[in-house]
Structures are given as C-alpha cells and as structure tokens.
Symmetry: C2
Subunit: 146 residues, 2 copies
DNA sequence: ACTTGACTTCAAGTCGACTTGAGCTTTTAT
DNA sequence: ATAAAAGCTCAAGTCGACTTGAAGTCAAGT
C-alpha cells in the first residue's frame, strides 16, 4: 500500500504516518522510487497505537511496548495504567455529577452549596494538570488538502 | 495576603498566580510597593479554577464563566461538559477493562483475541487525541515537599 | 515535451499552560 | 549602610504530538 491508502484506511493524515515512522512506531517496507510502501498489517499497528493513545500512553511508551519484537506487551505496565484509569474515572465521575448539580443548583453562591463544596474538595485532592484536547475531536483526514 | 501566602495556601507557584492574573482569572487588589496584595477569597477562586481544569475546561473557558460578574456559571455549558464527561468515562472504562484483560490474555497474538479486538473497535471509534499528562501528577510542593 | 499532482525531505511552526531567565526594585535582616 | 531575599516585568523557552511550508523528485496523462 502507498501512504495515501494507509492514510485512508487509518483515518490518519500522511504527515502523521511519516511522523510515526520517524519515531519508530510503524515501518514501511521499502520504496517504489521515493515513495514508501507499507504492508497491510501496518493498519493493525496503527489501531494498536490509537488504542494506546486513548488509554493514556504517550507515543514513547507505546514505542517501548513495541520494541520486544511484535506487540508483546509489558503486562505490569498495562495493569498500572488500568489502575490509573480507575482513579481518573472516579474523579471524572465526581466531576460530572458536580457539574450536573451545579447546573441546577439554586444556591446563589456555589460556595454556600454543600454538594458543590464536596466537589471542590475532590478537585483539591488531585492537583495534576490535564490539558483538554478532549473537546477538539477533530477528525482531520489528510485527504482533501487544498 | 502576599503572593507567597497565596502560593502556599493554594499549592500553586507564584509564577502561575501571576500568569492567572494576567489572564484575568484572578485579581490582586492593589499593591504594597511593587508587591501584589490578594484578598483571601482568591483561594476559593483558585479552587474553582482547579475544579474547572479537572473537569476539562480550558483556562479561556473558565475565564468566560467568570466574566458575568462573579462565578455565575453558564449552565448549558456545564451540562454539555457533563455529557462529554459521560462519553469520556464510558470510553475510559472500556479501555481499563481492555487493559486488564490484555494483561492476562493467553492468546499468543492479541489480534486473535476477540475481547482485544472489541477493544480495538472502541479505540477506533474515538479518534480524538488525548495527551497524557495524567502520568506526571507532579504535586509541586506547596504543602509538603518530601 | 511538459505539466500536473502525489510524494519526498527537513526545518520550523502551532497549541495550551505554564516555567525560566535576565535584569531591575523593594523589603528585611545584619 | 549594605547585602541578601523576595517581588517585579517582559521575553523567551518547554513539552508532546503533530502540522505546515518550502523546495525538490518522480510517474503519468495530454
């Protein structure tokens, strides 16, 4: 497959595929002239990468998991991530409930509302920073460029 | 309070407080010489900001919510965010289960495991990018620096 | 023969949320 | 009186994951 086919099949722009190749996350098997040729299994690779990203792995972490030839995964790392996700899920759930409550809360000032204050305590507990690209959700396929 | 007191009380570095002030998220009420003076309620403001960040709001969005004098919150926006969180929670839950399964799965290749494939489908559905600072979790002193 | 358009490389730019550094001024302690 | 500590401003740097732009190469269609 050439890079455009992979792009179409994966939904990722060609630039990302080149970037991933440079990072060692995927590889092309040869060239036709200048052009990269990929074998079909790169699609599965990419799905696996997407999976990892969604689970909160960085590209570097994913690359590490791939290095022992083939996707033979570090099980301990997986379990650690699962635990982290548990914690995140718990926090987000509290946030969600808090938001829903805040939206209907009658208290003139949220600081007078016990439920809201409970929320604040949760927020206070976890002071990590979490950038929110979540909203973007841009499925920019590199198909039409113009 | 001076900036260091606020920093200690909030757990945020002074640089962040200046940055937030510049962004209009908090304000200092006057100066003592060069030095900013903050009133105590800035702490609550900061808690509210932390809350918003954890819920996935950007600083700009938080600033917007603050503009109609006082934290009088845009309820529709809150509900929208709550819905987004629902979706995110659902996805993360699937991921977590998938990770736990993958960690114990006997299939020599994950692509031969139906559960794993189900996971991949979920991953494929949501192609948003989610940077993972989650791992950092640096509680940059403030309270305690062991 | 020549243009087009898909592909290539490499460097630099982007985004959000801060942090860091340089070079001052002010306060506090000796 | 003086020097260190703490604040200040403003510009630039950082991080991760890509994207974009400039400039070049190459196969194909007219």
């Amino acid at each position: 497959m050439d890079i455009t086919e992979v792009a179409k099949a994966s939904g990722l722009p060609a630039s990302t595929l080149r970037f991933y190749e440079e990072k060692g996350l995927i590889q092309s098997n040869g060239r036709s002239g200048l052009r990269r040729l990929f074998s079909a299994n790169v699609i599965e690779r990419l799905a696996l990468i997407a999976l990892g990203r969604n689970a909160g792995f960085s590209l570097d972490e994913i690359a590490e998991m791939f290095t022992p030839d083939g996707p033979d995964i570090n099980r301990a790392l997986l379990l650690t991530k699962a635990d982290e996700l548990d914690k995140t899920i718990e926090e987000l759930t509290a946030m969600r409930d808090g938001l829903r409550h805040a939206a209907v809360c009658k208290a003139p000032n949220h600081f007078e509302c016990p439920k809201f204050l409970r929320l604040l305590r949760i927020a206070g507990k976890n002071r990590f920073r979490q950038p929110n690209r979540l909203k973007e959700n841009k499925l920019k396929r590199g198909v039409k460029k113009t």
